[in-house]
């Protein structure tokens, strides 16, 4: 094709749109055609082995309302049900696959396997919940300020016992003759936790809401009481740089932080206070009391995220790494590799693998041992704050039925292992179906 002034201008326009699309994370199809908007619908099915299942439906629409001004809306509907670990002791440290319980005598103990499928096990809690949420965005150009783009956002999400309000802003500045894009972002979340009444326990177990001296644990007879609603505020900041390295390579480097204050504990998570039992040569744990977990009321998280995209005419490699750390001393390293392969313009396959290695928060404990009659100010047995390793792998197949419609299905397998043996490993199956339409 001969390069004339007209088609050179068109090529420049399309290439610029491509770079801006890369910065904004838009899904661009039909580069040769003008796109006024797009719609996307997805349905996700998430199933843990013998535990939680989730069905999630999402709808997203983005429309150009006037020249270079865009509005978008996202709707989400989740249903969740199943049994989830509540933090009570399930595995004794010496007998990795058995549950220790006390008898009426107090010192002898029976053991039973930590049956993954037993939803009535004392270390599992059953729940059902639904979530409805919506997010809105308005994007417009700031031509007089470095030819940048500004985006305002807001949203609300509500569940039976949780409500979240959020608002944010993002500024994207093309620099270096549009070979680079500098992004600044900020947002605030105001969350309200309204948990249901305290966990009901059977038998002779006592439940206490606040830590009391270990020597008085046996005297703790307070019944479960109504748990008042509490707030959590999250202030977030983000700075990022996207850089075109050469004709086929793009880099992204982000730094983000979250300053979180308020009630940060999980109101349904428990911690077993235990003492060591000796029965002949056998050693186990005696659960003497159960407390609600108690996390600090402040948390500052930071992360550095790096991504490289390398393209070939039909393939694209996405490689990303995230380093996460916070004031709770929790650290995580996450590596994610994706490979796209396009077969002509009508179908593609994507394969990916993700690995996450997490080190625990400083107040995380499988149980609080009170042999020494001392107890910590903060404690949590929530396995999500513990030492864990997560692997995810999957494949996605996409069909582009015409230049403006795409359907895809993605199947993932996820496995999470707990390096301190607090729980049996978790296996998850995830399926996601997407329909994308340009309008």
């Amino acid at each position: 094709m001969q390069l004339t002034a007209a088609n050179a201008r068109k090529q420049l326009q399309l290439a610029t749109r491509g770079l801006l699309s890369a910065s904004l994370g838009l899904h661009v199809h039909g580069v040769a055609a003008e796109v006024n908007g797009k719609m996307e619908m997805s349905n996700l099915y998430y199933a843990e082995e013998d535990r939680v299942t989730v069905n999630k439906t999402q709808f997203y629409s983005r429309t150009e309302i006037s020249e270079e001004q865009f509005a978008s809306i996202k709707l989400v509907f989740d249903t969740m049900t199943g049994a989830t670990p509540n933090g009570r002791v399930a595995l004794s440290p010496e007998q990795n696959s058995q549950v220790t319980v006390t008898t009426a005598s107090g010192f002898s103990f029976q053991t039973q396997s930590a049956d993954r499928s037993d939803s009535n096990a004392p270390w599992l809690s059953n729940f059902t919940d639904t979530r409805v949420g919506t997010d809105l965005e308005y994007e417009f150009p700031l031509r007089r300020f470095l030819n940048s783009t500004f985006t305002l956002s807001g949203g609300v999400s509500t569940e039976r016992d949780y409500r979240s309000l959020n608002s944010g802003a993002r500024l994207e500045i093309p620099i270096n003759n549009k070979r680079s894009t500098f992004t600044l972002g900020s947002s605030i979340n105001n969350d309200l936790i309204e948990p249901e009444d305290g966990v009901q326990l059977q038998g002779t177990r006592f439940q206490c809401d606040d830590p009391i001296p270990a020597s008085l644990v046996s005297l703790c007879t307070k019944p479960p009481k109504y748990f008042p609603s509490r707030n959590k505020i999250v202030n977030s900041g983000f700075v990022g740089l996207t850089q075109i390295w050469n004709q086929s390579t793009l880099f992204q480097l982000n730094y983000s932080y979250n300053d979180i204050n308020g009630y940060l504990s999980d109101p349904y998570k428990l911690v077993s206070f235990t003492r060591t039992l000796h029965d002949g040569d056998n050693v186990g744990l005696d659960e003497v009391a159960i407390f609600k977990e108690k996390r600090p009321d402040k948390r500052l998280t930071e992360s550095v995220y790096f991504k490289m995209i390398k393209t070939l005419p039909k393939d694209a490699l996405h490689l990303s790494y995230r380093l996460f750390w916070d004031s709770w001393q929790l650290r995580a390293n996450t590596l994610h590799l994706k490979m796209y392969r396009y077969f002509d313009h009508s179908k593609y396959i994507m394969w990916h693998i993700r690995a996450n290695y997490q080190m625990p928060a400083w107040f995380y404990q499988k149980t609080v041992n009170v042999d020494s009659y001392e107890y910590p100010k903060y404690f949590s047995a929530d396995h999500r704050l513990g030492p864990q390793t997560t692997f995810t792998t999957g494949v996605k197949i996409g069909l582009i039925t015409n230049r403006r419609t795409e359907t895809s299905i993605k199947l993932d397998y996820m496995e999470q292992q707990y390096r301190d043996g607090v729980l049996p490993g978790m296996r998850v199956f995830i399926a996601q179906f997407n329909l994308y339409i340009e309008i």
Binding site: L12, G18, A22, G25, E40, N166, G240, N246, D315, A316
Partner: protein, 73 residues
């Protein structure tokens, strides 16, 4: 941790300095304009994945500001 921050800052400097990469003209960016070369090829898929990992891990975020919005962690 300070060492990590210095490494990140150095990477950022290299990216911004512009001295080690090609000066790619806009009409040479056709490969990067393809759908598979977008930073976020599928926003809904990313949102679902991030929600799953937010619910099951202690770490979260990295690709933008904000997060959460549910009682799942």
């Amino acid at each position: 941790m300070h060492k990590t921050k210095y490494i990140a800052a150095t990477l950022l400097f290299i990216l911004v300095s512009g001295c080690a990469y090609e000066k790619v003209k806009p009409w040479h960016r056709d490969l990067l304009a393809q759908p598979q070369a977008q930073l976020v090829p599928d926003p809904l898929e990313l949102a679902s994945d991030e929600h799953i990992y937010f619910s099951k891990e202690g770490a979260f975020g990295g690709q933008g500001a904000g997060g959460g919005g549910c009682g799942c962690n």
